[in-house]
């Protein structure tokens, strides 16, 4: 089987074939023979050239969470990257920008109104999570196009709290 796996934004091609209780792995640059022992449903022992690498792995929402050698990896298959719902950093083609909470929480205050002009870095809302207050600031200069929530609403990181529109 061939996989295209993304680690930290980089795509790696890996092919793996089982053979006589071993695995033949092709990483493009080199071919490796490996054993893989299962310790428990999340703990494994990878053996390459008699060197042992314990690793821990769990699958969750199309991602592989893996830890080996004290390093942590979140690995994704290449095609699922296309499903990204919207670009968090940039402004979309219509000149709109969605402002999302950086973590799920409760909206304590909305400091702007629809149609209001905002400066870059102006505070737009205050979200509370884990007893701490976090200010949500405007990442661009523009106008408040739409406010999707009101005070005391709970928000996640996906649904925009409000949308900004770039001024001409």
């Amino acid at each position: 089987m061939e996989y295209e796996l993304i680690i930290d934004g980089e795509i790696h091609k890996v092919s793996v074939e089982p053979k006589d209780g071993k695995y033949i792995i092709d990483l493009g640059k080199k071919r490796i023979e490996a054993f893989c022992e299962i310790i428990d449903p999340n703990s494994f022992l990878l053996v390459i050239d008699e060197k042992t690498y314990p690793f821990y792995m769990a699958f969750h929402e199309k991602k592989i969470h893996l830890s080996v050698g004290g390093e942590k990896f979140v690995i994704q298959e290449a095609e699922s990257k296309k499903e990204k719902r919207f670009e968090r950093e940039g402004v979309d083609i219509e000149g709109k920008k969605a402002i999302c909470a950086p973590m799920p929480g409760k909206i304590l205050k909305i400091l702007v109104e629809e149609g209001e002009k905002v400066r870059k870095n102006q505070s737009l809302a205050i979200v509370e999570a884990m007893k701490m207050e976090h200010e949500i600031r405007a990442s661009i200069e523009g106008f408040v196009k739409k406010i999707n929530f009101k005070e005391d609403d709970l928000v996640d990181t996906e649904e925009p709290i409000l949308e900004l529109e770039v001024k001409d």
């Binding site: 490796i32 449903p41 494994f44 690793f55």
Partner: protein, 498 residues
């Protein structure tokens, strides 16, 4: 004689207290909110009772309900842990009225040290050095503006009832004052139910040094030496160690004596911590008394050899301290790292979600105070502390190296933690040489990034992931292999096609 204790807390500290009780043969009653039904403290206690919905006011701050559970279960004492009701003098008083032992200071001393403005007054009278600042709570904005001018910017805004950095803000100028005071009051209100805030002089690059004390009901007070807690993010400690690298034996003795004097002045009982700031010229200023068991108490336990939670219970039941100051000494060096569910690359914002898998380190000199298990849901309702990793060795350098090894062996899959950040902190030359101060993280590690692209084990990770995917995909093989054991098909946390 205390034979049954209700633990009015959650997380690792509830687990820690339950373990102490079990060792002492005391029955335990846990309380929990709706999201904590499966929490480790509920699993470990002899009995467990639901308090209500997750919001702290409905659950772990719900005094009526907690007292009711204590009465119903005939628990003769309540241990409040840290946070929540631990420093709430009204709750301590309620317990006294209900004839339930509150395992903490008496309500009068608690009220005094808990009110930071009042305790500053008391300390001034007792000639204990304090940081210049407001003598009363701010009433209105003008009050704050005038006081800030008088003290001189930068000033530090603090919650009168607070701790743990909640409500705390550095204010550099008059322009920042209004929004900071308002935000600080809101945070103080939601965290402690009291919105009083005050200002004091902000001392730059100080060290945070605190002394552990124990005081019984028979007038005996001892200190159990210092803890240095200078490494902080968002004014909250994340690394603590003892002994401090800066204290000389003379300064240690002097500060210890002052700590004992603070406790005697306030009529304080049980375990407490006297916090000081130490400036660059080694002048120390009394900050406050933390009237509870501290998050970082284990480093004292490991170097002094006294169990602080058991001591709290013994003092609360009226026993005398069995050790004298002269008999106490520090042995070796201990470091604690707090493991939080938060993202060090993104301003330490909390990270929530399901812990898919956890493997905790162990070995000689490694202590792990945790409430983690595979499958635990980390929710937004409470402080994001997950665990405390504590290492003891004969020297600081050995303890530091042990900590690096232990952090490398701490595997938490599914949510973000700052374990890698802590490991890099342990490797920082300024930490190695002991030059720690409260601005350490902003100064040296503010732009910290995970070693993306520089990881050593990418190849192994790719191979492991590919083997995992190959075997996860063989669902079709289920029928033929029915009679054979195949662990690949019984993988608990693998959510296929989720």
């Amino acid at each position: 004689m205390i034979n049954k204790i209700l633990i009015a807390n959650r997380g690792e500290i509830a687990v820690r207290i339950i373990r102490a009780c079990k060792e002492m043969g005391i029955s335990t009653v846990a309380v929990y909110s709706e999201v904590d039904r499966k929490a480790l403290h509920v699993q470990l206690a002899d009995e467990a009772y639901l308090l209500g919905s997750p919001a702290p006011l409905e659950s772990y701050l719900n005094m009526d309900k907690i007292i009711e559970v204590a009465r119903m279960t005939k628990a003769c004492a309540i241990h409040p842990g840290y946070g929540f009701l631990a420093e709430n003098s009204e709750f301590a008083k309620r317990c006294e009225t209900e004839k339930i032992i509150f395992i903490g200071p008496n309500s009068k001393a608690l009220a005094l040290v808990g009110d930071k403005v009042e305790s500053r007054k008391t300390m001034t009278q007792a000639k204990i050095p304090i940081i210049p600042g407001m003598k009363a709570k701010g009433e209105n904005l003008d009050d704050f503006i005038n006081q800030a001018e008088k003290i001189g910017y930068p000033v530090l805004l603090k919650a009168s009832a607070g701790g743990g950095g909640k409500g705390m803000r550095i204010i550099n100028s008059k322009e920042e004052l209004k929004s900071s005071v308002e935000a600080g009051m809101r945070e103080a209100k939601s965290a402690f139910g009291d919105e009083s805030v005050y200002l004091e002089k902000y001392i730059q690059q100080p060290r945070h040094i605190e002394f552990q004390v124990l005081a019984d009901y028979h007038g005996n007070v001892v200190h159990l030496f210092e803890r240095e807690c200078s490494i902080q993010r968002r004014h909250q400690k994340i690394v603590e160690e003892t002994p401090s690298t800066i204290l000389t034996p003379e300064l240690r003795e002097k500060m210890g004596e002052v700590a004992v004097k603070v406790i005697k002045t306030t009529g304080y009982t049980n375990a407490g911590t006297v916090e000081f700031l130490l400036d660059k010229d080694k002048n120390y200023y009394f900050l406050e008394v933390n009237a509870r068991v501290q998050v970082e108490h284990p480093i004292t336990e490991l170097t002094i050899g006294i169990d602080l939670v058991k001591s709290q219970i013994r003092i609360a039941s009226g026993e005398k301290l069995t050790f004298k100051q002269e008999k106490l000494s520090q042995r070796g060096h201990a470091i604690e790292c707090r493991i939080y569910a938060e993202d060090p690359e993104n301003d330490f914002l909390p990270s929530f979600g399901k812990i898919l898998f956890v493997k905790e380190p162990c070995g000689p000199g490694i202590r792990n105070d945790s409430s983690l298990y595979s499958g635990l849901d980390v929710t937004m309702h409470y402080d994001p502390i997950l665990a405390k990793l504590i290492c003891w060795a004969e020297t600081r350098e050995e303890a530091r190296k042990k900590m690096i090894m232990a952090l490398s062996g701490y595997v938490i899959l599914g949510i973000k933690t700052q374990i890698d950040f802590l490991r890099d902190l342990m490797l920082h030359p300024e930490f190695i040489s002991g030059n720690t101060h409260t601005d350490f993280i902003p100064k040296y590690l503010s732009d910290w990034k995970e070693k993306k692209g520089k990881k050593k084990f990418v190849e192994q990770a790719l191979i492991g992931a590919a083997i995992g995917m190959l075997n996860k995909g063989k669902k079709g093989a289920r029928v033929e292999k029915k009679l054979m054991f195949d662990p690949w098909l019984s993988l608990g946390n693998w959510e296929i096609g989720a």
